[in-house]
């Protein structure tokens, strides 16, 4: 699974992207956030939201190995 970090989330983590072998027991966005939050607590910030395959996703949205996921902080606007 390709996971991207946008804006100041990338700064906080010191990287812009990881490739994750999605564990079988990670079924939805919230579980993924908790898993990654163990190593990267900045992802647990409630203002950080998640995009799955180009659409903003709720915590309950299912995730699959071939999804592209992005964690993003509040937008700056144009």
């Amino acid at each position: 699974m390709k996971i991207l970090f946008l804006g100041r989330v990338a700064d906080a983590l010191g990287m812009r992207q990881i490739d994750l072998a999605l564990p079988a027991d990670i079924a939805d966005v919230e579980a993924l956030r908790c898993l990654l939050g163990n190593d990267y607590p900045a992802l647990l910030d409630p203002t950080v939201r998640v995009i799955v395959n180009d659409a903003v996703a709720l915590g309950s949205q299912p995730v699959a190995a071939d999804d592209e996921v992005a964690f993003f902080p509040p937008v700056s606007g144009g």
Binding site: G7, R8, A70, V75, S76, G77, G78
Partner: protein
Amino acid sequence: MIRVQPEPFDPAIELDALAGRAPGAGAIASFVGLVRPSTGETTVDQLILEQYGNFTLATVNAIAEAGKTRFALLDLTIIHRFGTLSPGEAIVFVAAAASHRRAAFDAVDYLMDRLKTEAPFWKREQGSAGSHWIEPTPDDHAARRRWELKT
């Protein structure tokens, strides 16, 4: 026509192109946003904008469609740049073609207010105060709320 791109654009060419696509228009209004050379007493050397591919484009498209419907536009153009920009560079172009001037003026104002608060860009200023991320100001949000009022 909606574009999100790193390349510079020429507002005069874009205005002509819009006029060409909207031959029945009675009014075209346009806005060009520039990178400011300073924020308060802080000098800005560079403005760095990140976007996220299809997500950013889809959101800008949705804002454009809402403006087109709300003001019965014949056509419109939004061009928004990303990447590293210097003070004075044009960063955003919005133009609206309508039958009458009021709709054209209002549409540009509305589109800019929505872009300023909702467009998925992440902006960082690099300057005399170091580097910091930018979020919409209270004034930006107040401007956006004007369009929620029923008049």
